[in-house]
């Protein structure tokens, strides 16, 4: 495989005295979807924020297309081509859909390109075109998520960081959004890094996966490999082991092999 487009090496990030990421290294290759799985507090969102520059790492390197970008200002990182679609959508509620999209292209000056990308966004998310003049706050949760992704696309990213796009959405909407993400990956060769609690949807979509626990990576592999792992099946995919009794409550210990 070619050199990864995004390389993360030994990142450590802190919230005050609390070490949230305790040395994480991972690779994201061009055109792949990489999924980060993990329980609450594992450090997934912190990892995303550290990559997009919202947080500065204490140690380690983030290498994007061969250049170290850790600690740079977030807007510069967007300009370099990494766009962060944050958890919980965070669209600007009092602005219209179009204005939200225009903000996504804030770092760009090629008006033709911007126009083309807006059409592309409308192509992928026709509902946004329909509601282009509506205030974003009045959209439904799923539509806001689409807008957030669309706003991200407006930055003409090389890598998209998607933090829990399925949060609070109905299974049908999750399916719809994930289908669009898949199309984006197939048709635009968009590289994505995806943080998800919805492990089965994420592994379905992703090519590669990493599992985080208390700030460290405990397991990695291709999505297929991970789906076959007993630990993943038990702890993330909700597969019940055949037990001696029906109402078994305990779970075996994780070994991450």
């Amino acid at each position: 495989m070619s050199d990864p487009i995004l390389k993360i090496r030994n990142i450590e990030s802190f919230y005050g005295p609390i070490m949230a990421i305790r040395g994480v290294s991972l690779d994201v290759h061009q055109g792949r979807i990489v999924s980060i799985l993990g329980a609450n507090g594992a450090g997934k969102t912190t990892l995303m924020k550290t990559i997009s520059g919202v947080m500065d790492p204490e140690k380690g390197q983030i290498i994007f297309e061969g250049l170290e970008i850790q600690g740079r200002e977030p807007h510069k990182i967007v300009h370099d081509g990494i766009v962060h679609v944050p958890e919980g959508r965070e669209v600007f509620p009092l602005m219209t859909v179009e204005e939200n999209l225009a903000l996504g292209a804030f770092t760009r000056s090629d008006s033709h390109g911007i126009e083309r990308d807006r059409e592309m966004v409308f192509d992928y998310f026709p509902i946004l075109k329909e509601r282009r003049n509506q205030e974003a706050g009045t959209l439904s949760g799923g539509q806001q998520q689409m807008l957030a992704i669309g706003r991200g696309l407006m930055g003409k990213p090389k890598v998209m960081l998607l933090d829990e796009p399925s949060l609070g959405l109905s299974p049908l909407l999750v399916k719809e959004i994930f289908t669009i993400l898949k199309r984006l990956n197939d048709e635009q060769n968009m590289t994505m890094m995806l943080v998800e609690q919805n492990a089965s949807a994420a592994l379905e979509l992703a090519h590669d996966g990493y599992v985080m626990e208390v700030g460290r990576i405990v397991m990695d592999g291709t999505a297929d490999e991970l789906m076959k792992s007993e630990d993943i099946q038990n702890f993330y995919l909700g597969v019940q082991e055949d037990g001696a009794r029906e109402q078994r409550r305990w779970k075996r210990k994780k070994t991450w092999r």
Partner: protein, 627 residues
Amino acid sequence: MNMQTPVKSTTINGVTYNAEAGQRPVRVDSCTTIVELFQKRCADLGPKTIHREKDLGIWKEFTWNDYWNHALWIGMGLRKLGLKRGEVVSILSEDRKEWAYFDMGIQSVGGIASGVYTTDSGSQLNYLVNDSGSRFLVVENEEQLDKFLTHEDEMPSLLKVIILEDEGLHDLDHPRCMLISELYEIGKAADAEDPNAFEAEIAIAKPEDTALLIYTSGTTGMPKGAMLGHENIMAAIEAGARRLAVLETDEQLCFLPLCHILERDVSIYFPLAGKCIVNFAESPETVFNNLQEVSPNTFTAVPRVWEKIYSQVLIMVQEATPAGRLAYGLAMKAGQKRAGYLIGGKPVPAGVAANFWLWDKLVLRNLRRMLGFDRMRRGGTGAAPISPELLKWYWSIGVPLVEGYGMTETAGLATMNTRHENTVGTIGMPIPGYDLRIADDGEIQTKGLNNFQGYWRNNEKTAETFTDDGWLRTGDVGSVNDAGFVTITGRLKDIIITAGGKNITPAEIESRLKFSHYISDAVIIGDRRKFLTALIMIDQENVEKYAQDQKVPFSNFASLCAAKEVKDLIEAEVKSVNKEFARVEQIKDFRLIDVLLTAEDEELTATMKLKRSYVEKAHSHLIEEMY
């Protein structure tokens, strides 16, 4: 029992023992069996605290009266349900007060208590229950219960399974299962029906009766049940009082598995004599927090635990401010100087003592308080070799840590260093009243009242374990110096004969490797091979820290082991060990075991030591790569 000849007695910390150790009958406050001593203590100390257990975050106290009542209900209940004298009851539970209640309850009515590790699988449980012919099985919770349920048809000898925690089991309706509360009710009723029957059963017990069965992990073949009688344990208590004194005011922390003779002695039997308070750790994961909370007066652990604490301090120091590091360095210097005198048993010169006093006040006292060692009178280590440097470090920070040696077959004790008779790097002198000799092939052999009775239903193995003149073959090779201190070099059956015909004891090299901060365990390979190689298990925490500091990228454990820098690090450690050994004993190559082993894995013993035969089998591909 020969009661005619009056035996002279002596009093140690308020408890009377025979004046001369190792003499029949072994008496502790004139009791000759474990259960007699248990009865006496409960009667004398009734409302005083013996156990503490944490419940929903609060330490709760339990008295000797609780101990007596619950053991009585258990004993009478099991008797009512059909337990006969000389029959076995298996206990599958983490450490908790009920473990002690069952141990005493079972023994009081003449049963034999046998512990099963909670990390054992269902099929291992099946083997142990059938081999011991257990009549009852005690399981802690639903997780352990499921091990029984998956094999229930294969355990015909079991009459009942008793469950300690009912969480998640309210709907359970199984003819062979019952909750402990039901057993207590049966016991109460049986006691009301036939009062004093329990005391009568205790009175029947004789010193030569088998009291407990301890299955030895067995690095080869299936586990064997070592039978220990009342006399064996009483002899261990007697030796313990002389070598590992506990006081009535002492606090202890119980956290190693009670299935293991070491913790069983220290946390159940020695407190019967010493009357100290035993605090049960919440879980194996919380030991270090519990240690701080309890701040025990004596603490017995395996080397791995001592190493872990040491690593924590090192990491703390590395991350301290420059001033903090400087203070630590100076304090350690003062501590080492004093430790040099203390370990050698020499008086500490006033200047050294004064300097230590100062640094103790400034640094070391705080360090000890942080670790939960501020009241520690004595630390003990056993069950595996420990690095002399580590022992010295503990002495330097003001924690007297002594090494001892024993095995299940010697009721846990054979030799012991003490605070005052201590030679670092040896396992100490034989315990009082116990004989030790070195056979022609170098094997350490022992004789004394704490030597076990034999293996359960396995006369062949028993015969192999004793010499014709009745000495116990420990299987360990070692030597005794002029002062009487014993040193172990390795296991007899592990001796490697290289293709060149040279005999090598791998344990010596393995221990040296293990003393490295970065190596948690190692197995030397080389039997009938041209040269020696090693399979090494790295210490996850310390190597991860090293990799992180050196900016070595890794994701999971396997990639950590695969990193070139980590291999180089271990290679440097191996090279430094090689310098201490002769040419034929050089490790020519090594491989890292890149799976993170857990106690559930066959390759590890319950005390987290690698099992040679299993490791060789499971990682044969790595071995073949090297030859």
